[in-house]
């Protein structure tokens, strides 16, 4: 007995027109399956990838166009915000004068000392204190508390009037510390006061070396 089909047997099998038709049909279906497996499936993946890429680029393009369209509005908003920040200087937001916060502090306080008669002679700048900014959303110390020690002399009433004038004129300025020591003249006291002002803080990169120490 032979294992395979002989030529005669094959001829006899395909000699029949019905069998031949079914064999062709099966062959065509196999071709269709192969096309599906090797062409359509691969092409479908390529199409999905191409569509995803196109969608991603279009989304990016739309986002960019949206931002560019808002440019004039954003510039206007920036100008307004800068104006608001500038206006805060009138309330006691401290900016350096000749690279010195102490100089600016002196410039701001001189009119008040003249008005109240409380004489301030020395101004010394401290290192900044940090604000407890929320840890989420605003990670950087954009603003800080600038302390300036002012040393002067005057009567209690003059000192009190000076503090009131300071708080009325510059609502953002705060008396952070003060020491009143009597002198030989009972009417005159030596006063050392630390006035605190909001001022520009440090960025994250500027703070990193300081933060490494853990405590300050």
């Amino acid at each position: 007995m032979s294992q395979g089909l002989t030529g005669e047997q094959l001829l006899a099998f395909f000699g029949n027109s019905k069998r031949r038709a079914f064999a062709v049909a099966v062959g065509l279906l196999l071709v269709a399956g192969a096309l599906w497996q090797f062409l359509v499936t691969g092409q479908q993946e390529a199409l999905d990838q191409a569509r995803n890429e196109a969608q991603a680029r279009q989304s990016k393009q739309e986002a960019m166009e949206k931002l560019v369209r808002r440019q004039s509005l954003t510039e206007k908003a920036v100008q307004e915000l800068e104006g608001q920040l500038k206006a805060l200087e009138g309330e006691g937001y401290l900016t350096p004068l000749l690279n010195s916060y102490a100089m600016r502090c002196k410039a701001l306080l001189d009119p008040l000392t003249e008005k109240t008669g409380f004489a301030l002679a020395q101004f010394a700048e401290h290192s900044q204190r940090m604000l407890p900014v929320p840890k989420v959303g605003v990670p950087e110390q954009l603003q800080a508390r600038q302390l300036i020690t002012c040393t002067g002399t005057g009567g209690y009433r003059q000192m009190m009037e000076f503090v009131e004038a300071l708080e009325d004129t510059y609502p953002l300025a705060t008396l952070s510390a003060m020491r009143i020591i009597p002198t030989n003249d009972p009417q005159v006291h030596a006063v050392q006061m630390v006035v605190e002002w909001p001022a520009k803080g440090k960025t994250k990169s500027e703070l990193l070396p300081a933060a490494k120490g853990g405590r300050r």
């Binding site: 029949n16 038709a21 062709v24 049909a25 062959g27 065509l28 279906l29 096309l35 599906w36 062409l39 359509v40 092409q43 479908q44 390529a46 890429e53 196109a54 680029r57 279009q58 393009q61 960019m64 166009e65 931002l67 560019v68 440019q71 510039e75 920036v78 915000l81 920040l85 204190r129 940090m130 604000l131 407890p132 950087e140 110390q141 954009l142 209690y156 009433r157 000192m159 009131e164 708080e167 009325d168 609502p171 953002l172 705060t174 008396l175 510390a177 003060m178 020491r179 009143i180 009597p182 630390v194 909001p198 803080g201 703070l207 300081a210 933060a211 490494k212 120490g213 853990g214 405590r215």
Partner: protein, 222 residues
């Protein structure tokens, strides 16, 4: 009983269906349609892929043209965000600002006549804790500000008085409703009320020296 015998002398391949639709004709046609359908489907996918790739290239070109304007817009938006945050932090500071001018005026007005203040000190705030100590063997996480929004404020009054009653009167004044908005507690620390002799002018008059520690309302930055 008679049994009907049905005799079929046709061979299987000689049988012909009475139906007009013959299976051996339709099967290859159906298979050919399937092949054609698959080929058409592939062609449609291929066309769609080309279209999607074309869209990607068009978007890339548009993105390239937008780059300069986009960078300007990004910078402006970043500046806007930073300014907003700066203003928000100033407001945070404003909330924590304290005012003592009126308090100092009231203190002068209500100070008992028999009390002579020798020093008045708003104690400097304690050093800020910037970052919690790291666990053993671990690197401390960078922290960018104190953990607590509150900061205590202390006031120390030092002075002299001829008698203890005057000091009681001063404490009564400091604890009175007039100062409740500013002062939380006013106490004389242990050993801070002591008798001394006035050496000035050789009078030898006795008086009491005292310190009063006041806890003022905390500054809250929030």
């Amino acid at each position: 009983m008679n049994k009907a015998i049905h005799l079929n002398l046709l061979r299987a391949e000689e049988r012909v269906s009475s139906s007009r639709v013959r299976l051996h004709v339709m099967a290859p046609v159906f298979a050919a349609v399937v092949v054609a359908g698959v080929a058409l489907w592939w062609a449609w996918l291929w066309t769609q892929t080309l279209m999607a790739q074309s869209q990607t290239r068009a978007a890339d070109d548009a993105i390239g043209q937008l780059q300069a304007a986009f960078k300007r817009a990004t910078d402006t938006t970043g500046r806007e965000q930073e300014l907003k945050q700066q203003l928000a932090q100033v407001e945070l500071y404003r909330h924590g600002a304290a005012r003592y001018g009126v308090f100092l005026r009231k203190l002068a007005e209500q100070m008992p006549a028999t009390i002579q203040l020798t020093a008045l000190e708003f104690v400097e705030p304690p050093p800020q804790v910037i970052a919690a100590p790291a666990p053993r063997g671990k690197k401390a996480p960078p922290s960018f500000g104190p953990s607590s929004p509150e900061e205590p404020v202390r006031l120390r009054l030092s002075g002299r008085t001829p008698d203890a009653a005057s000091l009681d009167k001063l404490l009564g004044v400091l604890r009175a409703p007039a100062f409740r908005e500013t002062i939380e507690t006013a106490t004389v620390p242990k050993g801070a009320f002591r008798q001394e002799q006035d050496a000035r002018g050789g009078s030898g008059q006795e008086f009491f020296r005292f310190d009063v520690e006041c806890t003022l309302k905390r500054r809250v930055f929030e």
